[in-house]
C-alpha cells in the first residue's frame, strides 16, 4: 500500500489535470474556463511535488495561481463577454479536435525512445530530499554529502551559475510592467514636459494682448 501511494496519487491528480484541461477548452463561460485552469494548476502542483520539485510546486500555487490567474479572473470579469453565440459551434468541431489531439499526442510520444525512461529511480549521485520544510534549511552532513532542501539547491545555483539569466528575468518583468501600464493607460500622464514645436511656433499675439483701458482717475 505504501508503495502504491505515489502511483495512486499520481493517477488521480493526473486525471484531474486532464479533466480540468478538457473542461477549460470546452466550457463556454470564460470565467469557468479560468477557474478550471486554476484547478489544473493545483493538480499539477501536486504532481510536481511527487517529482520532488517542492519549491516550484509551491511557487506555482502562490505566484502563478495567486497572482497571474487572479489577474485573469479580474480581466475576464471586467470584460463584457457574450456567451450565447459560442455554444453551438463546438459540437461540430469536436471530432476534429479529438483526432487532432490523438495525432499530436501520438507524434510526441512516438519520438520517445523505447524503454529508456522506464526506470523510476533517480540516477545515483542524486540529492535525496526528504525534508519538505522550506522555511528552515537544515544541513544534514553525512559522510561526504551535503543534503540541501530543494529551495536551497535552487538558490545555490540560481545566484551563482544563472545570475545573468536571473537579472534578465528581472528586466523582463520590469519591461512587462512598463508595457502593461503604457498600453492600458487611459489618459496622458500629467508630467511637465516641453513641447519645442509649440514654443517655436508661438506668435506674439498668443502671448501678449494690448488692451486699452481708461485711466482710473
Amino acid at each position: 500500500m505504501h508503495l502504491l501511494q505515489p502511483q495512486v496519487v499520481f493517477y488521480i491528480f493526473a486525471a484531474i489535470t486532464i479533466f480540468s484541461a478538457l473542461m477549460v477548452i470546452t466550457q463556454s463561460n470564460p470565467v469557468r474556463c479560468v477557474l478550471f485552469l486554476v484547478l489544473a494548476f493545483f493538480a499539477s502542483s501536486i504532481l510536481w511535488l511527487l517529482a520532488s520539485a517542492e519549491f516550484l510546486a509551491l511557487i506555482l500555487v502562490l505566484v502563478y495561481v495567486g497572482a497571474v490567474m487572479t489577474l485573469f479572473l479580474f480581466v475576464v470579469m471586467m470584460l463584457n463577454i457574450d456567451i450565447e453565440s459560442t455554444k453551438k459551434h463546438f459540437l461540430r468541431y469536436m471530432p476534429f479536435g479529438l483526432i487532432l489531439v490523438a495525432l499530436l499526442t501520438g507524434i510526441l510520444l512516438k519520438s520517445l525512445p523505447q524503454g529508456i525512461y522506464k526506470t523510476s529511480e533517480a540516477l545515483p549521485a542524486a540529492i535525496s530530499q526528504t525534508e519538505n520544510n522550506e522555511n528552515s534549511p537544515e544541513i544534514v552532513s553525512s559522510e561526504n554529502k551535503v543534503t540541501l532542501s530543494n529551495t536551497e539547491a535552487l538558490g545555490m545555483v540560481l545566484y551563482t551559475d544563472y545570475v545573468f539569466a536571473f537579472e534578465l528575468a528581472a528586466v523582463i518583468l520590469l519591461v512587462a510592467i512598463i508595457a502593461a501600464i503604457t498600453l492600458a493607460h487611459r489618459q496622458q500622464i500629467r508630467s511637465k514636459r516641453q513641447d519645442i514645436v509649440k514654443q517655436i511656433m508661438t506668435q506674439r499675439n498668443d502671448r501678449v494682448k494690448l488692451v486699452k483701458m481708461k485711466s482710473e482717475r
Binding site: F10, A14, T17, I18, A21, V24, I25, S28, P30, C33, V34, L37, A40, L47, W48, A51, S52, L56, I59, L60, Y64, V68, L71, F72, V75, V76, M78, L79, I81, D82, S85, T86, H89, F90, Y93, G97, L100, V101, L104, T105, L108, L109, L112, Y117, K118, S120, A122, L123, A126, N150, L154, Y162, A165, A169, I172, A176, A179, A180, L183, A184
Partner: protein, 101 residues
C-alpha cells in the same frame, strides 16, 4: 517512483489539448491566453520530470524562468485584450480579421 514516461505522456496530452483549444477557438481571446498558459504548464511538467530523472537542478531553474516570462506575457497579453475591448467593444475572435489580406 513514478516512471518518467508517465509524466511525459501527461505533458504531451496537456500540450495537445491546449493546441486544440487554440485551433478550435471560436469564442473569445481569453481562451487563447488560457490555452497558452496550459501549454506552458505542460512544458513545465516536462522539464520537472526530466529534472527529477537526471537529478539535475537545471531543469527546475528553467521552469523558474519560464514561470517568470509566462507571468510577464500574461500581463501584457491581458493589457492588449483590454485595449482591444476598449476599441471595438467586444472580444469576439470572429470579428478580429483585421489582418485579412
Amino acid at each position: 517512483m513514478i516512471p518518467t514516461t508517465h509524466y511525459l505522456i501527461l505533458s504531451s496530452i496537456l500540450f495537445s489539448l491546449s493546441l486544440v483549444g487554440i485551433i478550435l477557438n471560436r469564442r473569445n481571446i481569453i481562451l487563447l491566453l488560457v490555452c497558452i498558459e496550459l501549454m506552458l504548464l505542460a512544458v513545465n511538467t516536462n522539464f520537472v520530470a526530466f529534472s527529477h530523472y537526471y537529478s539535475e537542478i537545471t531543469g527546475q531553474i528553467f521552469v523558474f524562468f519560464i514561470l517568470t516570462v509566462a507571468a510577464a506575457e500574461a500581463a501584457i497579453g491581458l493589457a492588449i485584450v483590454m485595449l482591444l475591448y476598449r476599441n471595438s467593444g467586444n472580444i469576439d475572435v470572429n470579428k478580429m480579421n483585421h489582418l485579412k489580406g
